[in-house]
Point group: C2
Chain length 393, copies 2
């Protein structure tokens, strides 16, 4: 058997292991100093009450012959797809239920969607970037090119007609930068894709953090997107499902390339290589869309947003250039005094015992930048902000 | 963007839709006649009490900040891998925890594992076969060759040194035939694979139906398997998890091909393209291995086995050749009077209103055969058996 040699080309990432090592070293030398982690990419608030109730009730149903559920539809139960469709209609996007596919999370689908594309496609990835976009294509042996996201374009790169790409990754609100495309900017990407017969893979996992009604929460708010874009979304950040696992992918029926219909292809992929998300988990996800569920998740999102605001405010006060934080849980800042990313990491750890994520870990354009997140507790975030205020002042 | 053209080569299966159509036609013409379905491939008994209790308790944990679980390890929690390891040790197979990968089900892993293999490998598939083995490789563009499973070899084909294959699918107890390999037979496959540097993909999803201690429940009961085999197993049939979704895959650390280690590759694949199974579901799966859980699932398995015995006995009584049913939920019979598979389907529906699955739907060698399953209720199974007894007698 010949193994897939492309695996030899995947870069090893030492980002989070190096962070852990440095933190451990510091705390063993300074056992009395309290370290505050603002590098957390995972939610920390528990599931909402209505979700827990739904999960328990569905678990009970599974224990009774009359209400037991065996194999479900691979693409998700209608009861959940219906609710997701309604959620889209709230921001004027109309989807048919069979354009919505429920999955165990955006990460799975972002990887698995590549099954539908030929190896001989050029992939365009913004730098800095969520590493999964790069690694999944490297595994398959596709050619990857990068587009610069930097301070000049506010970390929102726009298409360049001189650069031809077949598969384009966009993430808005962005991980790691928190930057959000507006409608005019996304329209440029949609036009580029339709003109070049490219496909946009749109990662909207953080759309729930958008509060400005003029900012697009779905790429389908842009005319023409239904002939060039697949959208990936998730309950992970919206409702704290990082460990509960549920998401969805939208594949419009109007997506046709070389006479092949991507909606039909994805349905075939999922029915052949997937068996659907647990009935129990889908019932928990459904509860997110109840009026009470919407109220409860909003409280949690507001909590994270308030944390983000506290961090953003102290940076503004001390004239530290940054983006994100407003429609995103991430704050992306320029390291002061032209420090490099790891230099600033050490500086913060050493002086104020705050841990963040060096921007260079997300790509070349991340060098000199730093990511802080709002997923910590209010208490810790406040304390971190006070330390920063004192230290920077 | 160039789509993956291999999707055009996937055969469309009309097996289950044709069955549904024929059944609907019959019942609209004969509304008074009660149809009994013995074609069901899904479990019908609800989840065990201890599993439901564990699912509810884990759901509650997720609603409390102190016991909330965010992102878990992609390869599964240690608490579950530890229990799966113990389960293997009961039949003398020793695995390290990091050779066990928890997944959302065997179907996902059977498809996704192909990421690790080059396209230029020849795939050997027994005929008749679970269609997923064929479709997943067709999607990727691999060459598929078939090996005949038929009455001459009791539907247990053995390796032929003149046929060279890189990737070999074995399923024992088999779906659709219910045939089970003994240790000597599996040893021949292991020897062939090690000699030819092939990999065996061993689907053991029905191992829990084996009661004869001399029959292997895992391919790792065979010396040499750890250098040539990956095993896929599932809670679906063992504990009724078809709609709850949990399974596991064993990738031994000793699996090396062209200096590449498959255990490391699979870990990399899963950490990049998967985000683990829901904490709640893993806690439910853990409960299956408690003493009470083992007792409760045994009751359910015994129920299905008794159904299988009832069906097998009536076929034996009327001299109808069949296999399976003893260590498997499936009974595979030769259609009487040399009827073809669909002919027998119509014959049973018309005369005794029993619905089964035509063997020809699983491959060329299935022609003239028929599959019945033991997943129905006792009451319906008994009534079906009585009807058959009367009709055949």
């Amino acid at each position: 058997m010949k193994p897939n040699k492309n695996y030899q080309n995947i870069a090893q990432s030492y980002l989070f292991s190096t962070i852990a090592k440095k933190v451990n070293e510091f705390s063993s030398k300074n056992p009395d100093k309290k370290i505050i982690k603002l590098g957390i990419g995972d939610v920390t608030l528990p599931l909402c009450e209505v979700v827990v109730k739904a999960l328990k009730s569905a678990s009970e149903e599974m224990g009774v012959k009359e209400t037991f559920h065996g194999y479900g539809p691979e693409q998700g139960y209608e009861f959940l797809k219906e609710k997701i469709g309604q959620y889209y209609r709230e921001h004027n996007v109309n989807l048919d239920n069979d354009e919505i596919f429920v999955s165990d999370g955006a990460k799975s689908d972002l990887g698995n969607i590549l099954d539908l594309f030929d190896i001989n496609n050029t992939v365009l990835v913004p730098d800095p970037v969520y590493p999964v976009y790069v690694d999944t294509n490297t595994m398959a042996g596709r050619k990857i090119i990068y587009i610069n996201a930097n301070a000049d374009n506010n970390f929102l790169p726009l298409p360049d007609e001189n650069i031809k790409a077949d598969i384009i990754y966009l993430c808005s609100p962005n991980n790691p930068t928190g930057a959000v495309y507006n409608k005019e900017q996304l329209k440029q990407w949609v036009n580029y894709a339709n003109h070049n017969q490219s496909i946009i893979l749109f990662d909207s996992a953080y759309e729930c953090f958008i509060t400005d009604e003029n900012l697009p929460r779905s790429i389908y708010e842009i005319d023409g997107a239904k002939t060039c874009a697949i959208e990936f979304c998730s309950f992970s950040k919206m409702a704290g499902f990082t460990g509960t696992r549920c998401g969805w992918t939208v594949v419009p029926k109007t997506l046709e390339f070389d006479t092949m219909n991507l909606n039909k292809m994805w349905l075939r992929r999922q029915t052949t290589k997937f068996n659907g998300v647990s009935y129990i988990i889908q019932k928990g996800a459904e509860a997110v869309f109840s009026p009470e569920g919407q109220k409860q998740i909003k409280e949690n999102l507001d909590y994270y947003k308030e944390n983000a605001k506290l961090i953003s405010d102290v940076l503004t006060k001390h004239n530290i250039w940054h983006i994100g934080g407003k429609h995103s849980p991430y704050i992306w800042l320029k390291c002061p005094n032209n420090m490099k990313s790891w230099e600033f990491f050490d500086y913060l750890l050493e002086n104020v015992q705050i841990v963040g994520t060096p921007g260079s870990g997300f790509g070349n354009n991340g060098e000199g930048y730093f990511r802080l997140t709002s997923f910590g507790s209010r208490e810790n975030t406040k304390e971190a902000v006070e330390r920063l205020d004192k230290f920077l002042g």
